[in-house]
Amino acid sequence: MNFKEYLQQNIVILDGGMGTLLQERGLQPGEQPERWNLSHPEDITAIHKAYFDNGSNVVNTNTFGANLLHYDEAELTEVIRAAVANAQQARELSKAPQEKFIALDIGPTGRLLKPLGDLDFEEAVAVFAKTVQIGADCGVDLVMIETMNDSYETKAALLAVKENCDLPVIVSNAYTDKGKLMTGASPAAMTAMLESMGADAIGVNCSFGPDKLQPIVEEYLRCASIPVILKANAGMPTNVGGKTLYNILPPSFADITARMVQKGVRVVGGCCGTTPDYIGELCNKIKAFAPDRAERIIKKNTTVISSYTEAVTFSDDPVLIGERINPTGKKRLKEALRNNELDYILSEGLKQQSAGAQVLDVNVGLPEIDEPAMLTKVVYELQAIIDLPLQIDTSDPVAMESALRIYNGKPLLNSVNGKQESMDAIFPLMKKYGGTAIALMLDENGIPDTVEGRVAIAKKIIDTAASYGIDKKDLVFDTLAMAVSADNNAAKVTLGSLNIIRHQLGAHTSLGVSNISFGLPQRDIVNATFFALALENGLSAAIMNPFSAEMMKTFYAYRVLKGLDENCSDYIAFADTVQNNIIIGEKAAGGKVDEQLTLHGAVTKGLKEPAAKLCKELLKTIEPLTIVNEHIIPALDEVGRDYEQGRVYLPGLLMSAEAAKCAFEEIKATMSDSGGKTKCAFVIATVHGDIHDIGKNIVKLLLENYGFAVSDLGKDVAPEVIVEETVRLHAPLVGLSALMTTTVPAMEETIRQLRVAAPWAKIVVGGAVMTKEYAASIGADQYAKDAMDTVRYAETVNGEL
């Protein structure tokens, strides 16, 4: 029987601890345990055999840290081969009667992936891939990815397994006492991602004893439609007379774990501190009550997507999908995409989150940009700082795949439709990377104008998805809101289809709500009522503008009326903000407080919203450039001087800069694309190997305020990239930042390359470790002690051009 079949019908017993047993046999702290496969094969084989003898169905090879980051390829191959041979030897020697399998064990790399750490996602995939290839060649029965404490690294490992072998793969994560992974993911989020990517079993190992892991495992049981793993520690270690002892002994370990099996856990074993005795006790306990065949696992049938950290479930409670990151009809966003202004896009995402969006649609489709590259970059940057799941919105399958690949979680795909070509392109991507798709009710014959026609397409999509192994629960049907101004019956067909798909086909639904009012005046009025009707007909998710007050009013009122808002608390909180808006509006209209405040004052005091409002007012009567030169810049200068003289602290300087930036956004919104006269180009980056960028971001903010055309290359930037950009822009100024002494050589190398390829460029350096002398010694033109100092130097260079 192969492992997959066995898993379907039985409770699977894994092995117990390896590391603690090796330490007892003399492994030193800090020594690589995998080398023992070669140096102490008899010890490793004996441990594996003891687990088989005590009833384990699966033993994990001693390859937890066997990867290219710890071994070169030749040694890695030797280590893994020996590890599998030791396990095979143990299987042959053991006379125990149960089914016996060997799992290739894969642990974490010990490095954090970008952007939290410095390991690139694709590099991580490649590292795991090599281990998988060698292990699969040796003839293991399955792969076990375990003790992973970061969701992104878990995805990299699972992807590597899927791309490099056909073996079954089971995945378990290590949790903190807060019930989350170290990097923040919840069990529901992990379940959503891993199940969708095709793991054969998922669950929890290490961390704590089985008692403390119970609530986390129960969360897995609640969410998962596949077998759940529990492989706990023998409690916590204590030092008794120089010997490490764990506080949960075999009988109670077996007792608690067996009780979790009764609750539905299907794959059990032990981790740190557990021994063959623990596994023996556990087998006995389970045999005492387990039937010959395990019960079928109930499919949960939940439509769920996830981000880095959180899961969002589709239910009767409607999900809001923010539509603002989409350049269609948005001049400022188009400009941001063309100029690579990712910070603007990120702040659009954050604003939608604060306005109540639960998912963000991401569409960067513009004719003149490289969509696959830009979509991937925007998804990567957004998921680095926002906890909302993303809806990846593109009609280009290449862009879709590259974004899905690096997405950390289970995304929404926008979209698939009833055309065979579309389904053949999208469903394989969903199967490989996981995800839930928005399915549009159109096909080769266009959009049907009857309810029956649209429902028929939905059924066709469901059937085709099934042939790819994709369940109906991973499709969200968009019955297409069409302009009611063009066809009076448009809303009726949309709503009728929605109702049938939600209530008769039992699938979830979505709509791009505002399309309904296209061509009409005061569109919000129609949108809000249509939204209410759609909700009542079974709308699960609305793709909409969360800044629309009318839509949000409908949303909160609907939830109250449907009993979805406990104690009406969400509504009351929302109503409060509506109240405040009215008061703010009245004040702005004629209050006395604000009349005292000028744009100059708002900037010097660092008041962002007033700065934007006052700037907007001034723009009605004064030329944009006059506002910049006579109001904003003098205010910034004043704060800058106060800062240099120690009268204002850095946070104050920054608050002013941020307020000025808000004013500049208003100016940009009114000026034509060519209207903003800027100073020279300034290329800025944190050097290779350094992931600290706050100082660099501060400098950038101030330089932008002073009119420099800043090209921000980000952090951990290779010298070649900085050189290339400097040459491309023929930039007269380059700013480099380094925080640590260890990354100064990278700065020196960057300067060396710049001198060769861009001899015209003036190079200014800064950062925690920099000094004037140090800067001179590595060949920089200028050392800047802080952001204002950089601005002053840049102004001088710009003046001499």
Binding site: G30, G110, R111, Y649, P651, H692
Partner: protein, 217 residues
């Protein structure tokens, strides 16, 4: 044996936050900024630490993994201790995500959050040392002040050995990158002696040789 500990939030020290943000002596104009930042940080912070006890060789050196460490800075800090505590502490990755967010869109907050992170991790180390001192009290011992790689003559490359010995990635989710930087960034590794001397040592800043430090108290 490596022990892993999880702490409740140590009490907050606003003065320290202001010192790290270099706004010591500022008027109350930053109060609401600091309050906002604390409120956003609290749910994301975790306080985790792992440690082990190592012997001091008769020549004063300490074996940390594969490296025999003979450092004057350590020697001066631990004095005649026969054992040292080696520990690693972190306030976790989700807090780094918060800093990353504001670093991109609101650097003034990122700056305060950096200071909060520094204050939090130092407070965590203090809380741990207090707890150890309470435990050691019965035996008439106490901890000396702590020193870290990068202080004085303690090489940064020692981090590699410390991370291997303490199994930091697995125990507390703390990793070391190629440039020897720690991720999550608000983390500390340190060594403190276990001494028989009962007198309390001078303040951390007062004992430091770097007298031109901008953060010196």
């Amino acid at each position: 044996m490596i022990r892993t500990l999880s702490f409740d939030a140590p009490s907050w020290d606003r003065c320290e936050i202001m010192r790290y943000a270099r706004i010591r002596g500022a008027n109350n104009s930053y109060d609401s900024l600091i309050d906002d930042c604390i409120r956003e940080s609290e749910p994301l912070l975790t306080y985790r630490l792992c440690y082990t006890v190592l012997p001091v060789n008769t020549d004063g050196s300490i074996m940390i993994g594969n490296e025999r460490v003979a450092s004057q800075t350590i020697g001066k800090a631990i004095r005649d201790s026969k054992q040292v505590i080696l520990f690693a502490a972190t306030v976790g990755a989700p807090f780094d995500r918060l800093i990353a967010r504001y670093s991109r869109v609101e650097p003034s907050k990122a700056l305060i959050l950096q200071a909060i992170g520094a204050e939090r991790i130092e407070s965590l180390c203090d809380a741990f040392c207090d707890q150890m001192n309470t435990e050691l009290n019965d035996t008439g011992k106490r901890l000396t002040r702590r020193v870290s790689p990068g202080y004085g003559d303690i090489p940064l490359r020692l981090q590699k050995e410390i991370f291997a010995v303490l199994d930091c990635p697995r125990k507390i989710g703390l990793t070391l990158d190629k440039s020897l930087l720690m991720s999550p960034s608000k983390s500390v590794t340190a060594i403190a002696g276990i001494t028989n001397e009962c007198e309390e040592q001078a303040d951390k800043c007062a004992a430091c040789d770097k007298t031109d430090c901008a953060y010196r108290k």
